[in-house]
């Protein structure tokens, strides 16, 4: 099903008013990770270990829909943290079950 895509630049950053830095970090020995912000896929980059991360230098405030779909072996632990400026707006831990973890969170960035 086609999703409505917000207006973004080529790095996936929404156009609009300047905001605070948004830092995203996912850690876990999983096979694949699929990550969305406001219904648009955002790629996270490997650090060479088991962490995928991405930082937007200026991210607009407002509602933010977060979706994570991670696949791996059952029992694999993972963490997802998001910081908006100095504030931790999301700090989630999970464990892969039935081959995957699916996380949906609705945030409001202030």
């Amino acid at each position: 099903m086609a999703r409505k895509r917000p207006s973004t630049d080529r790095d996936g950053r929404p156009h609009g008013a300047a905001g605070k830095p948004l830092a995203i970090a996912f850690s876990g020995d999983v096979f694949t990770v699929f990550f969305e912000l406001n219904n648009q896929e955002v790629t996270l980059r490997s650090d060479g270990g088991n962490t995928l991360a991405r930082t937007f230098t200026s991210f607009p405030s407002g509602p933010l829909q977060v979706l994570l779909h991670a696949k791996g072996l059952n029992g694999t632990a993972w963490t997802l943290t998001m910081k908006y400026g100095a504030d931790t707006v999301l700090d989630e831990q999970g464990t892969i079950a039935s081959g995957f973890s699916h996380l949906v969170r609705a945030l409001v960035l202030r």
Binding site: T32, V33, G48, G49, N50, L73
Partner: protein, 322 residues
């Protein structure tokens, strides 16, 4: 590109694997050999330094930086292996280190038949190309004395493709097909060749002998040729085996060739201990393998034999400060 590789080599994913016995290595998922049949997508995040004591090899792996998602994109990597072509036993027994080097490049793509954004299954395809140069030490007692010990360099190359599928977080299967230039060096008998010097003691008149220049070598009908390889792997991770720490791995590998001394079918089964909260990483394993299960090589070489191997791994990252 060079910058990225350097960064990954300095990453936190370095580890060392200590093995004894038959070929059993690991990348990130327990695999029945060191070539990474289950080089799973997540393994692309990891660079690894591996030491296998059964063939005294040291392997360095690295990969291109990986993004999340990436379905439909190829990622690339390579391994560089330096090893003794005769195994650790030869190094210990005779002090002989006969060098061999292998370069293995691969391309991988995941989520071919599965969707990276949905479900619990994931599949991936890996295509590997390798070239190796190995110095061999062969002994043939039927030849003239000066030609009995030869040390040719064997250059092999090959290509293979592996399709793997992981289902529901507990079951993985892989099918591999390939072709390579190979030999039966590993199936020959291990021997130690020494030069004996004799002399007559001038005071007593007795004849005495001294051993010098002892060299580890292989003896038997040496053959080189092109061989096709077929392999099936399975990895089961049932909750019933414990608190998500134990897994069963099994494989069957067949080498097809017009030379009967190059044909071989190996089957193996193993029990692996997995890392807590990261079961994609094997801490150790015990593997029982039946080599040359159908005794297709006959009595000329080692033939059908049962081997038991033990593998353990120790992370070395803190030691090296990465």
């Amino acid at each position: 590109m060079r910058h990225h590789w350097r960064r990954i080599l300095a990453g936190a994913g370095l580890g060392v694997t200590l093995c004894t016995g038959a070929a059993f290595g690991q990348t990130a998922i327990v695999s029945a050999d060191g070539d990474g049949v289950f080089r799973a997508p997540g393994a692309q995040f990891t660079s690894m330094l591996t030491f296998k004591s059964d063939d005294a090899s040291v392997k360095v792996s690295f990969a291109t930086p990986t993004l999340s998602g990436t379905a439909g994109r190829w990622t690339f990597g390579a391994d560089l292996t330096a090893k003794s072509s005769q195994g650790l036993a030869a190094v210990i027994k005779s002090g002989t280190y006969t060098p061999g080097t292998k370069v293995n490049g691969y391309a991988m793509r995941h989520s071919l038949l599965t969707n990276v954004a949905e479900g619990g299954d994931v599949d991936w395809l890996t295509v590997q190309v390798s070239i190796a140069a190995t110095k061999l030490v062969l002994f043939d007692g039927t030849r003239p004395f000066a030609d009995q010990l030869t040390k040719p360099v064997f250059v092999s190359d090959g290509v293979k493709a592996t399709y793997a599928y992981e289902h529901a977080g507990f079951l993985m299967g892989g099918l591999t097909a390939g072709v390579e230039r190979t030999n039966n060096y590993g199936d020959l008998d291990d021997i130690a060749v020494g030069t004996e010097n004799t002399y007559t003691d001038p005071s007593t008149g007795a004849t005495r002998a001294t051993q010098a220049d002892q060299v580890a070598a292989k003896s038997g009908p040496y053959t080189e040729g092109i061989a096709g390889n077929l392999r099936a792997d399975v990895f089961v991770f049932p909750p019933a085996l414990g608190p998500e720490r134990l897994a069963i791995t099994g494989y069957a590998a067949t080498r097809l060739s017009s030379h009967h001394t190059l044909r071989r079918t190996d089957v193996g089964v193993g029990l692996a201990l997995l890392k807590a909260k990261s079961p994609g990483i094997a801490l150790g394993a015990v593997v029982v393998e039946l080599r040359d299960a159908f005794n297709s090589q006959g009595a000329a070489t080692l033939g059908r034999r049962l081997t038991v191997s033990v593998q353990g791994s120790v992370p070395i990252a803190p030691t090296f400060g990465f």
